[in-house]
Amino acid sequence: MSEDAALSIRNLSKTFADSATTTVALQSVNFDVTRNELVSVIGPSGCGKSTLFNIISGLTGDYSGDVLIGGQPISGPHPDVGMVFQEDSTLPWRSALGNVTFALEVRGVPKKERVERARHFLDVVGLSGFEQHRPAELSGGMRQRVAIARALAFQPKIMLMDEPFAALDEQTRFTLGDKVLEIHRQLQQTILLVTHSITEAVQLSDRIVVMSPRPGRLKRIVTVDLPRPRSSDSMKSPAFSKFVSQIWDDVRDATAPVEALK
């Protein structure tokens, strides 16, 4: 394990079994995420990305191997981990400000401080002026930004994002991608992003963990050494396209046997 690792995955395997079938979702997955790094996990559908996310977030137990946060094995949801989900997770009965303060309220932060911090992080995600708006009055992209602000508000050591832009349109995805990059640069936040978008992974990541389909195994880790800052404009560069096509080849190779079976 790297000494600077914020998150370490060691020989992680997970099997789902019922009376009739046994499904190996993950098999011997190993990788580290170092501090201030943005790592993406990518792979075809059914490769265990979400299972991996659920294990790291503490929502799924009963696995073999280790998940270490700051060198310590986890035994459930970890207080140093902030999470942004694929599904809309804003509380519809609370305002944008109320949604962000919720995370701090649960952790017992005094009211004055939590309002100040919530306002600050809403500003960080570009939602100043929308504090009193309810989620129903915000667009899908804005609601995901509220969720990001909420995850950032309690200053987690690691932020886990499970396909946070999956339900959004292409234009909003790019805009939010730029916002995540900005947050990563400003706050030096360690981020593990689960995504199925190769373009998004290349645009955002320092490294990309490519998974093979079921049973989910680590196929390759790609270091993306494109210069930063990488705005959505940098996607036009030949180097960017080269990375995209290289990862696409990996994902396609991994999917090919499954397709051939069909």
Partner: protein
């Protein structure tokens, strides 16, 4: 939009509703006067309106409205206090939910008012029997809607609560219950309608105080304008309480 323009836009639907009611009453009045409608079955709306003051003075309509409204409020409090915990318990305890859900669904469609002779024997001819009968009739929608609301809590919110390390009670009070509130209030509104129907029907049937008894009394006297005016007041009481539940829902949501 300017504030006066907003207020004007908001006033249009109720004004339209009031005008259409006036138009309906005027049409009925006209049809009665030309003999298309039978005046021995339907009274003149103008006579019914004029009889309201008589009902207040001679028949103590205000007191009767308060008697009926009090019974409705008590019954609704009972169905909320009993129904929401039962719904929550059935949501949590899967075996019980599978066992009893269809029972409650069946009970919701049963004409429970026919049980009133049993309750009269058990509790006597009085407010207790009426409120209890109404409570039983109004309970099932609250139970069913509470289960539905809790079960349809978005997955993202449940995940959020779990990852925030909320206790079971914290998850219930901070996530599940607020998320289920719209469904619970919709169950309470349906329950309120069942309670109201049963309370007024029982007041009428057992001739025991409230607006229901007054309607019975006036129809027995063949006082058609008074009967129709009392029915209109019964509807008004129910509508007022129903509107109050909207206010209660908004207040609960604000305080969350």
């Amino acid at each position: 939009m300017r504030p006066w323009a907003t207020r004007l836009r908001a006033a249009v639907p109720p004004a339209f509703g009031a005008l259409s009611l006036i138009a309906f009453l005027a049409t009925v009045e006209m049809l009665l006067r030309v003999g298309v409608l039978n005046r021995f079955i339907v009274p003149f709306p103008s006579e019914a309106i004029l009889s309201i003051s008589r009902l207040f003075i001679d028949e103590h309509l205000a007191v009767r409205c308060i008697q009926t409204a009090s019974k409705i409020v008590v019954a609704v409090v009972i169905i909320a206090v009993v129904g929401i915990p039962i719904g929550t318990a059935l949501h949590t305890w899967v075996i019980a939910r599978r066992a009893y859900y269809s029972w409650f669904a069946g009970l919701a469609s049963a004409p429970l008012v026919i049980l009133y002779p049993l309750f009269l024997v058990l509790l006597g001819r009085g407010t207790g029997a009426i409120v209890l009968m109404a409570g039983i009739a109004g309970l099932t929608p609250v139970v069913l809607k509470t289960i539905e609301g809790l079960q349809s809590t978005p997955v993202g919110l449940v995940k959020l609560g779990k990852t925030m390390q909320l206790s079971n009670f914290g998850l219930f009070s901070k996530i599940l219950l607020p998320a289920a509130l719209p469904a619970i209030f919709s169950g309470l509104r349906i329950g309120l309608i069942y309670c109201t129907t049963n309370i007024i029907a029982l007041e009428f049937l057992i001739d025991f105080d409230g607006v229901g008894q007054l309607i019975n009394l006036l129809s027995y006297r063949y006082d058609l304008p008074g009967t129709y005016a009392a029915i209109a007041f019964a509807i008004l009481v129910c509508a007022t309480i129903l509107l109050a539940t909207d206010g209660a829902e908004r207040w609960v949501k604000r305080t969350l």
